[in-house]
């Protein structure tokens, strides 16, 4: 659905984006991560035809963004990192204005506006002036605006920045709902734990170059990090350590606090083998939990904190 080929954007000597190759499949939520100044916003602006790339190109639903700007804009809903509002308009008028800008017939507009107001839970605010809304409400309005023309692709630049926890959770739920509706979503955020929860794929960009793209599960082998599990038994922890150390796929076993940390050889996994072995040896197995690699840790390992 979204594809970039050697996409580059230079500002004089500064390379904001350099040879970026990226593919996002239809219906995916793609988390775009990177330090400040890494090139996320520039990439998004190119995708929505607001910037011309210096080299390379990008495609949305097979359409070249350089050649088919108007058609691409019809397909995409874009929410910038800082969203301004027309403070002379009311919420309903604001949304209807964008409906008209997207050439939606006048007789259909009212129903569509009411629909997106309901989806974003803004019905009660439709007569309020846009500038009187709180930050969270304005972000919702931004999402409502993005949805007004029922785009196939949503490109959201930091949609949850500056929101309180409740508003963030609500936005997250809304994005899940949009995914269920079949939308392809590209989202950038600095709140990595949130992306972790909703994204199918992530891309980590630094200094204008993609340092990783794939699922969260792909990061561990990418970083050369072995799989780990945490094992907890009721008694005879030392004997359990002895037993597990003898198993072939296991490289290292150590006791940490009240649980046993088991590290597999690279590329090996064996949660089932561990459980079966412990149960057969009559250990009371309390829990067996894969040790998750947190996105924050992966981000720190993958990036060097370089900014332009």
């Amino acid at each position: 659905m979204i594809k970039t080929q050697n996409l580059s954007k230079n500002y004089g000597d500064l390379t904001a984006v350099g040879n970026l190759n990226l593919t996002i499949e239809q219906g995916d939520i793609f988390g775009f991560i990177g330090p400040n100044g890494a090139g996320k916003t520039t990439t998004m602006r190119i995708l929505v035809t607001l910037l011309e790339p210096t080299h390379g190109t990008a495609f949305i639903n097979g359409l070249d963004v350089r050649k088919h700007g108007k058609k691409v804009r019809r397909l995409v809903g874009y929410m910038p990192d800082f969203m301004g509002v027309y403070d002379d308009l009311k919420v309903f008028e604001y949304l209807e204005f964008f409906a008209a800008a997207f050439s939606i017939e006048r007789r259909k507009r009212k129903g569509i506006v009411e629909g997106v107001l309901e989806l974003t839970d803004l019905q009660s605010k439709q007569s309020a002036t846009v500038d009187s809304l709180s930050r969270g409400m304005q972000q919702r309005l931004g999402l409502a605006r993005v949805l007004i023309h029922d785009p196939k692709v949503l490109i959201l630049d930091e949609p949850a920045s500056g929101l309180d926890p409740r508003a963030r959770i609500e936005i997250r739920e809304l994005l899940r709902e949009l995914k269920r509706m079949g939308k392809t979503i590209m989202i950038s955020s600095h709140i990595l734990s949130e992306l972790e929860e909703i994204c199918d794929h992530i891309g980590i960009i630094e200094h204008g170059r993609m340092v990783f793209s794939g699922t969260l599960a792909d990061i561990r082998p990418h970083l050369g990090i072995q799989s780990k599990v945490r094992v907890k038994v009721t008694a005879n922890q030392d004997k359990a350590v002895e037993l597990l150390s003898a198993l072939p796929p296991i490289r290292e076993v150590e006791v940490v606090d009240d649980y046993i940390s088991v590290t597999f050889h690279e590329g090996k996994e064996g949660d089932g083998l561990i459980a079966r072995s412990l149960v057969e040896a009559k250990f009371d197995l309390v829990s067996l939990q894969p040790e998750q690699l947190k996105l924050d840790d992966a981000f720190l390992q993958l990036t060097k904190g370089m900014v332009h």
Partner: protein, 570 residues
């Protein structure tokens, strides 16, 4: 010499109680601002063009009168004319520059949220106000200094007394200080520089121009009283009188007005304005900085309890989008955000125009009447307001979107570039229709009330056609320039200044001044015979040509604007 300099420098640190570190900071920042260097270059360029114009105009008249002995006999006259031109240019430019430079002095701090930071330091309001005022006025004084050597050189021609030069400089300085302090005071409450500039310029026109003329016209018997009140506190009248005395009545410099008294009055008024600014800066600026100001849509205000204006807007019914969306959105903006104040201003202006009809009706019919002159200047002022408002509406229709970060959102819609520009242009025109229509009506009214006789009547009605063509061309030009500069520049202030600057440049230097130079010989050939008719014909043709040229340039600017629409989105 060096001891004197040391004395002067030793005084400088002692002024820190008055200006605090603000003065140093402002000087440092202004030395890094490109616009200050541009301003100096433009000032020198304009001054040179102005002097050249005066020189050639004097030479043209002089040659026509006495070609053989001109070089010798008219040197003193040339000297007088050139010095008068320089002094008047300085007088007007210094005030205008002071107003422009101080128009964002406090609002800039509010916008950047640095005023609240200043308020948490030991710097007091007086230091903020004086630091800002003196640092910017220093730039103005530097500009005045640029032309001092020129004044000295031109004095070689003779005919100009020193006291005229000195008194004029003093009047200019005090007028600039007063105008600057007014601008600073207004910048506490006005966010946009052009609002400050327009308000002060309009206020000046009314208080220092129209009002004294009107009083003088309606009550000629109260001359003595009028002199004492209106002249001594009016820098324009004082300067006018000084110039008149120098040109027409040498040796009677103190007859009509006492310039030291005038300067003292202006400095006293400045002190009053500064005191008011000091009082208001903490009170109002702080409330604005933290979102308490009414009518300001800053992020700090979001979600705050509704102001009266906002409640009134919320009570209005929802309006459905009809027609082209960009035009609809632009037309939803209020006629003026300052509502009542602007309506009062227009009402005052309309009232004055109506009042100026009265003496015309009963006394001063015909082109020579004083009533006609006042009426004509009022209409000119009204035209200027309409044009500046058009420039503001067209330039701000794009820059305000950039400032509010809505521009990328609009460009991310499938609206064509031409559709967006067309919408903005139509809306700017439609929002200005009441003023433009009033302007056309005023031009018709001039002809109705003047009741010209004979060929002049036909000529005056015939001249209405090119006037309307020129007005239409001006509208296209100003809208085109406004949209072009709105796209090229980021801030509304810069775009409005560029639009008005280019228009004024075109109108007064290219199409006005220099074409007048070409027309002088025709006028001088004179009388009421064929020469006069030829002058009228050429003048008429020129007006049509100017109108068409304006329209052409406006269309060119619109085309350039369309090509650059997506070049500098952020």
């Amino acid at each position: 010499m060096s001891a004197g300099l040391t004395d002067i420098l030793s005084v400088a640190p002692r002024l820190s109680w008055l200006t605090g570190p603000i003065f140093d900071k402002e000087l440092r920042v202004s030395s890094r601002r490109r616009r200050n260097y541009v301003l100096r270059s433009v000032y020198v360029a304009l001054l040179s063009v102005f002097i050249l114009y005066v020189w050639f105009a004097t030479v043209s008249f002089g040659r026509a009168a006495s070609p053989a002995v001109f070089q010798v006999s008219r040197m003193a006259r040339v000297g007088k004319n050139v010095i008068t031109a320089i002094i008047w240019f300085q007088f007007v430019a210094a005030q205008l520059i002071a107003i422009v430079m101080l128009s964002t002095s406090i609002s800039g701090e509010i916008r950047q949220r640095t005023l609240s930071v200043l308020m948490t330091t030991p710097i007091n309001s007086l230091q903020i106000v004086m630091g800002k005022l003196l640092s910017q006025l220093l730039q103005t004084v530097l500009l005045l200094g640029i032309s001092l050597p020129l004044l000295a050189i031109v004095r070689i021609f003779g005919g100009v007394p020193w006291d005229y030069v000195v008194s004029s400089l003093c009047i200019t300085l005090t007028a600039a200080v007063f105008a600057g302090s007014l601008s600073l005071l207004m910048s506490i409450t006005s966010r946009q520089a052009y609002t400050v500039v327009l308000t002060i310029v309009t206020g000046y026109l009314i208080v220092f121009g129209v009002l004294p003329s009107l009083i003088g016209l309606l009550s000629p018997g109260a001359r003595g009283f009028f002199e004492s009140i209106a002249f001594q506190g009016n820098p324009f009248m004082t300067m006018l009188m000084r110039t008149y005395v120098m040109l027409a009545l040498p040796g009677r410099a103190g007859t009509f007005s006492s310039w030291p008294l005038h300067c003292a009055i202006m400095l006293g008024a400045t002190a009053g304005v500064v005191a008011l600014a000091v009082w208001r800066v903490r009170k109002i600026a702080l409330s604005k900085a933290f979102g308490g100001g009414k009518g300001q849509s800053n992020p700090a205000e979001m979600g705050k309890p509704a102001s009266r204006r906002r409640r009134r807007r919320a009570a209005l019914p929802i309006r459905r989008v009809d027609g082209p969306p960009v035009v609809w959105k632009e037309m939803r903006k209020p006629f003026s955000r300052r509502g009542k104040r602007v309506i009062i201003l227009y009402a005052v202006l309309a009232g004055m125009i109506l009042v100026s009809f009265v003496p015309m009706l009963f006394t001063g019919r015909g082109r020579g009447g004083a009533g006609y002159a006042l009426f004509y200047y009022l209409v000119s002022g009204f035209s200027l307001i309409a044009i500046v408002r058009l420039a503001v509406l067209s330039a701000a229709s794009i820059t305000s979107e950039k400032e509010a970060s809505t521009w990328p959102i609009l460009l991310a819609t499938p609206l064509d570039d031409a559709e967006i520009l067309r919408g903005k242009a139509i809306a700017a025109f439609r929002r200005n229709v009441p003023l433009l229509a009033a302007l056309v009506l005023l031009h018709i009214a001039i002809r109705l009330f003047m009741r010209f006789g004979g060929p002049s009547a036909l000529y005056s009605w015939l001249y209405l056609i090119p006037e309307v063509i020129t007005l239409a061309g001006t509208v296209v030009l100003v809208i085109g320039l406004g949209l072009y500069f709105g796209i090229r520049l980021k801030s509304t202030n810069a775009a409005v200044a560029a639009t008005v600057g280019v228009y004024v440049g075109l109108a007064y230097f290219c199409c006005g001044m220099f074409s007048n130079l070409l027309l002088y010989p025709l006028l001088l050939r004179g009388g009421g015979g064929p020469g006069r008719r030829l002058y009228m014909l050429v003048s008429l043709t020129r007006t049509v040509f100017v109108g068409l040229a304006y329209a052409g340039l406006g269309i060119l600017a619109l085309r350039r604007a369309r090509r650059r629409l997506r070049y500098s989105v952020f």
